[in-house]
């Protein structure tokens, strides 16, 4: 798994690519934890380059969602390809996250709420 990290107008954008499963979820969790530890309170995870996600990856998103809520931060997910969206729907995760179609709309939504 490759993970791109960008800062755009004060919004931390994390873009993992490849598979989010038992083998790779720890790496993603580390990056997200470090990003929040470093003070990010407006966080976008762009999933456009993700092939699929298993429950090991869902756990990572649950952890970061709870942490951002506790810190009164904001988390938006965007760019979900169909396999990722399908797993989120099956797990009932769509209701737990703010989800946008594109990174552009995610950034716009984040800015509007600032």
């Amino acid at each position: 798994m490759n993970i791109q990290q960008t800062d755009q107008e004060g919004v931390a954008i994390i873009e993992p690519s490849g598979r989010i499963d038992t083998t790779t979820s720890g790496t993603l969790e580390d990056v997200l934890r470090r990003t929040v530890d470093a003070g990010a309170r407006r966080l976008i995870v762009d999933l456009a380059a993700v092939e699929y996600i298993s429950s090991a990856g869902l756990r990572v998103f649950l952890v970061v969602a709870k942490r951002m809520r506790d810190l009164h931060g904001r988390l938006i997910l965007c760019g979900m390809p169909e396999p990722v969206a399908q797993v989120f729907r099956l797990a009932g995760f769509m209701a737990l996250f703010q989800v946008e179609g594109s990174r552009q709309s995610a950034v716009a939504r984040m800015s509007n709420a600032a």
């Binding site: 038992t22 083998t23 092939e51 298993s54 429950s55 756990r59 797993v87 099956l90 009932g92």
Partner: protein, 151 residues
């Protein structure tokens, strides 16, 4: 025997190594059999869940790592994956599934793997001999989500 033997995974050192190894074998199988992407990703997720379960529940308390075998089988209209492990009897199909309608504060990550296995496959079959044998099956060209009662 028309199953393609995917290797014996004995004394796997870590969960990471175990899943990486079997998913790699599945990739090779899917490429060789031209399994459509829409089916292949489901199989990869499901195999990840099955192996994670085995590593978590197999030989609990003994400190030993479970030993398991994986078979793949391609038919004209379906793909089947069978995983047999030597851990204590454990039927994943009888485990309670999480309530996927709870709000964030009440959600726990456990159990979602079983939900995904049931939902992403057409058939899931558990059998106990001297090992746990779990067989999952996905028909080609039928990628509608299987209802598991939670949706």
């Amino acid at each position: 025997m028309d199953r393609q033997f995917a290797g014996r995974h004995a004394q796997i050192a870590t969960q990471r190594a175990a899943t990486a190894q079997v998913v790699e074998a599945l990739d090779a199988f899917c490429n060789a059999e031209h399994v459509p992407d829409e089916v292949a990703w489901r199989l990869r997720v499901v195999l990840d869940e099955i192996v994670a379960n085995i590593v978590t529940h197999g030989r609990a308390g003994t400190g030993e790592k479970p030993v398991f075998d994986v078979w793949f089988r391609a038919e004209p209209d379906a793909v089947e994956v069978t995983v047999a492990d030597d851990g204590p009897a454990f039927n994943p199909l009888l485990q309670p599934e999480p309530d996927t309608t709870l709000p964030l504060a009440s959600r726990q990550p456990g159990g979602l793997g079983i939900t995904l296995i049931k939902s992403l496959m057409d058939d899931v079959h558990y059998e106990r001999t001297d090992r746990n044998i779990l067989t999952v099956r996905k028909r080609l060209g039928s990628t509608a989500v299987t209802s598991n009662g939670n949706q």
